[in-house]
Symmetry: C2
Subunit: 300 residues, 2 copies
């Protein structure tokens, strides 16, 4: 029996590609908002003993959570055997401790809430810092999918002479792994901070790579401030116009335009959050993990 | 020890009046939205063993729920002894059964969710139909506060010769009780439906009350369609311009303006949802019920 696929908010290529690979349609949901802004939900499908998978990225999460809970409850109410969540982007990963007295640890509250409604969770490269693994905060089985191989392959296929750039020491491990994957050079920049507003980047070796295309990589592009700053510094060093790669295309406010204006040649993201910059498809790596939960033999 | 009062979204007179009567300040909350639209919450107060009461109406509910859950979790995390919710307007009361196959019973899902996070719930005249009591859907203690005496008193004090009008048979019990409270006449209109769009109202007795001010009362004014229709029918019968009274001032889209345009002399609501039409204060009746939960002797 094939799994049933659902989405409330996704309209990008990721779910489309996964449904094609599974050779199964996305089950339609009737979602309606009443004039008083309450949500109505209806599903016209036989759900008895079905394995249900909801695909929805949890960027801009506050408005999405209640409809998502309603969907999970409705599926279970109508007889679903399991309801899993594929959230290619998982939110509320930052506030995982009380940095100052009185703060709410939203990361914990959010994971407790999701754990109440889903049998399992798959996500792509969540923003893990102090929490080393999702199992520390989620009480349901969780799987982390990594985008690094798909990013490496995209660079290999589309960039002639790439020079991987890590904007700071935090990005080192990440950027070095990609560079290693595809056997290209890699530089980790060093920030020299003169004051709150004056930062300069030291990159003595960059002289050797004047003909290379710098590739900046980060997990989340939200305000894009770090990337914009790095691009400006690279401009000063007279490099080729860089390409910026992000896994999760949040792009808060006008971050996308600002990043282009800073002088990049391209902005490329994975298709975890629907955005015009989505160029790296993660359907294959997500599907690989989905198999384990569905135990469906015919999955390609 | 006095209870601590909190609110995330309320900015009307109700909580202000309650806090005055309790002679206690509203405890401030730092609520911040990050550029990626995640919520940050911080409370600078000693919460150890405190009784905490959150005041927030749940109209336009989807965007409010996650911050509300975060607030309840934070209070409990910081040591609160109990966290109660006063939701003067309670949403998701309509879909309390599966009218058509496949529908989600949002009323049940919503009450289960709230029951997970609060010790008790107080609300004002919820929209009860098939569900006769909140105890059928809430697993926590609940209290329903009634606005009928406060509405009756407002009419008595502000309208010279009121004629209570029930727009249909559903409103009968409600409208008759108010009329009875203040000893004024009362008419229940009868709808004669000629087609989907043609409705006429039969009210033979209305001739006797040409000098009276018709008062229309309903629990929720959302699209105001029923009220607007009734006002138009009264206009045809050449009554005095009516006054419309609602408990809960939802006013979807431009319903407020449309209702005024239909030819009413005033629109008056209780202060359960902040709105310019709020003229009937419910602080006293809510406070009466609050006492039971707080067991605080000094409450007036």
């Amino acid at each position: 029996m094939k799994p049933l696929l659902f989405t409330l908010f996704s309209d990008g290529s990721l779910l489309e590609n996964i449904s094609k690979k599974l050779d199964t349609n996305i089950t339609p949901i009737t979602l309606h908002q009443f004039p008083d802004e309450e949500t109505y939900i209806k599903i016209d499908a036989d759900l008895k003993n079905q394995d249900c998978v909801i695909f929805d990225s949890l960027d801009r999460p506050n408005n999405k959570l209640l409809p998502l809970i309603f969907l999970a409850e409705t599926l279970r109410d109508l007889g679903a055997r399991q309801v899993g969540l594929v959230a290619p982007y998982l939110s509320y990963m930052r506030q995982d401790k009380r940095f100052h007295p009185g703060e709410g640890i939203t990361s914990k509250y959010f994971s407790n809430l999701l754990s109440n409604y889903f049998n399992w969770l798959i996500t792509v490269d969540p923003h893990l810092h102090r929490v080393k693994s999702l199992t520390e905060i989620y009480s349901i089985p969780t799987t982390v999918v990594h985008a690094i191989d798909n990013i490496s392959n995209w660079i290999k296929r589309h960039v002639d002479k790439p020079l991987l750039i890590g904007p700071d020491i935090e990005s080192k491990q990440w950027v070095e792994q990609i560079a290693n994957n595809i056997q290209v050079p890699c530089l980790i920049l060093e920030k020299i901070r003169y004051s709150d507003h004056e930062v300069e980047i030291s990159a003595p070796e960059i002289e050797r790579y004047k003909t290379y295309t710098p590739i900046l990589v980060d997990d989340i592009i939200s305000t894009a401030k770090t990337m914009i700053e790095t691009v400006k510094q690279l401009n000063k060093l007279n490099t080729q116009p860089p390409i910026c790669i992000g896994i999760h295309a949040i792009f808060a406010a006008n971050a996308y335009d600002e990043l282009f204006k800073a002088g990049v040649s391209d902005i490329v993201t994975c298709n975890t959050i629907f955005h015009p910059s989505n160029k790296i498809d993660l359907a294959d790596v997500i599907l690989n993990e989905l198999k384990h939960y569905l135990k469906w033999k015919e999955i390609p």
